[in-house]
């Protein structure tokens, strides 16, 4: 058995919080650069260039990429024969608290959603998920997700007969109504199947894998009980085409490049259901996975 101490996880969470807040991931950078050559709108191209300039300034000066430094979520993908000792929640939240203070990150958590919504002041509590996969190696993922793009996320329980067309139509409807204010060009994580809750988990997890390679690391899929088949990839392509015909464009100011990447994760589901969850992410897809 391999033991991983919770304190060690805390140390990594601390550095990842600062890393994702200040530095745009290389795959995201690459996607924006590719979009530049495909964008037909001049204003759209100007905005894509501004996104790259903003990312450069943020990285150079250790300034947040966006004033909405987001809600942090921690995802542990634990391999076989491995256990974690200690208090994960305590260590993770202590790390987020310290990173928020040291990095001058914005505190964006409202304590009681239906009450006075008092700001907790330190970005805690933190959502932590821990899933197990049957492969070697343990990985830690951290995501900082802004409220503007999360606002556009949606879930719908479709009938099995809806099929790919139904999924594409639903995603297009979500992006058309919520996409313009979600800081496009967007990244879309789509969870299809599973259950009500699993589809949402799959959708968010789908955003964790790099967008500049075709294959998704197996531990990400395996840990979430997901799969990405040839049909999933066909669905990704159909969604990308449909969404890039909405005209929303970079920054929502009109253009072709409304979406930079789509990932569809599927999971087996009940014979009566076809759950679909759409996780919208802004152009600043701030997340990182490291092996621990």
């Amino acid at each position: 058995m391999r033991e991983i101490k919770a304190e060690y996880i805390g140390e990594i969470v601390y550095s990842l919080c600062l890393d994702v807040s200040f530095r745009l991931p290389p795959d995201v950078q690459k996607c924006i650069e590719q979009a530049l050559s495909a964008e037909e709108s001049e204003r759209g191209r100007n905005i894509l260039n501004l996104l790259l300039e903003n990312a450069f300034l943020a990285g150079e000066n250790s300034v947040p990429i966006c004033q909405d430094t987001g809600l942090f979520s921690v995802m542990l993908f634990v391999g076989k024969d491995t256990f974690i000792s200690g208090d994960i929640r305590y260590e993770v939240e202590d790390a987020v608290r310290r990173a928020t203070a040291d990095g001058a990150l914005r505190a964006s958590v409202a304590s009681n959603p239906l009450g006075e919504r008092k700001n907790t002041g330190d970005n805690t509590p933190v959502g932590i998920t821990c899933s197990r996969h049957s492969l070697e190696g343990t990985y830690l993922g951290l995501m900082a997700k802004g409220g503007g793009s999360e606002m556009g996320s949606a879930i719908k329980m479709l009938s099995p007969s809806s099929g790919i067309d139904g999924v594409v139509e639903f995603v297009k409807e979500v992006v058309s109504t919520k996409g313009p204010s979600a800081c496009p060009p967007l990244f879309l994580g789509i969870g299809v199947g599973g259950s009500f809750d699993l589809s949402a988990r799959l959708a968010k997890t789908a955003l964790m894998a790099p967008f500049d390679i075709d294959d998704v690391p197996l531990f990400i899929l395996d840990a979430g009980g997901g799969q990405r088949s040839g049909v999933s990839k066909k669905c990704e392509e159909a969604i990308l085409n449909a969404v890039n015909m909405t005209g929303i464009g970079p920054g929502g100011f009109g253009g072709r490049m409304t979406c930079l990447g789509v990932r569809v994760f599927e999971a087996p589901c009940h014979i009566a259901n076809l759950p679909v969850a759409v996780c919208l992410n802004c152009h600043a897809l701030r997340r990182k996975i490291v092996q621990i």
Partner: protein
């Protein structure tokens, strides 16, 4: 050369701005968003005085990151305007001349612009590090307990924005989406 405008905004200036115009905005603005607008609305409904004067002002829908050692904040940028549309008429009645935020607004909000002869400026979401170079100072003027949602007075320095809804109610976004929707030209 882009047109440059400075706050406070007189009605003649507001009425001269045209939908789709790119501008550089300078001068003082107030930051407001969900919690501070809710607090303002509550004070008004209780007949209480407001701790700020919004006549001819610009409201910047924003919640910046905290101050750093040498700067008033690290990043600042627009938040979603449509989410705050329920408070727009209240702001116009208080004399607000213009709002600055991101994204299209609801149909009802678009109409309010022609009714009150006001404008809406749109900026790009997710450029907080870049926009921080166009905002010079930051001073909390009300509700400090709201943290990043407090009302603050910021000084804009040639802040780039677009007239997205003009005082005749023309809407930049709807026009653009009609232009760009559909298949790629090739």
């Amino acid at each position: 050369m882009l047109k440059e405008i400075t706050t406070p905004f007189k009605p003649e200036l507001i009425e001269s701005l045209r939908c789709g115009e790119d501008l550089l905005i300078s001068g003082f603005a107030f930051t407001m968003r969900d919690a501070s607008l809710s607090r303002t609305s509550k004070l008004l409904s209780e007949g209480m005085p407001l701790p700020f004067d919004l006549d001819c002002s610009l409201i910047f829908y924003a919640g910046p990151t905290p101050p750093t050692r040498d700067k008033p904040f690290g990043a600042i940028g627009p938040t979603t305007s449509a989410r705050l549309d329920g408070y727009l008429e209240m702001l116009f009645k208080l004399g607000v001349a213009a709002t600055l935020g991101k994204g299209p607004r609801t149909a009802e909000a678009v109409l309010l612009h022609s009714e009150y002869m006001r404008v809406y400026f749109a900026a790009v979401g997710g450029l907080g590090a870049l926009y921080a170079r166009h905002v010079r100072s930051h001073e909390i003027v009300a509700f400090p307990e709201l943290g990043c949602e407090a009302v603050s007075r910021v000084e804009l320095d040639r802040f780039p924005a677009l007239v997205a809804i003009d005082s005749e109610g023309r809407d930049f976004f709807q026009k653009e989406y009609r232009t760009w929707s559909g298949s790629f030209s090739d």
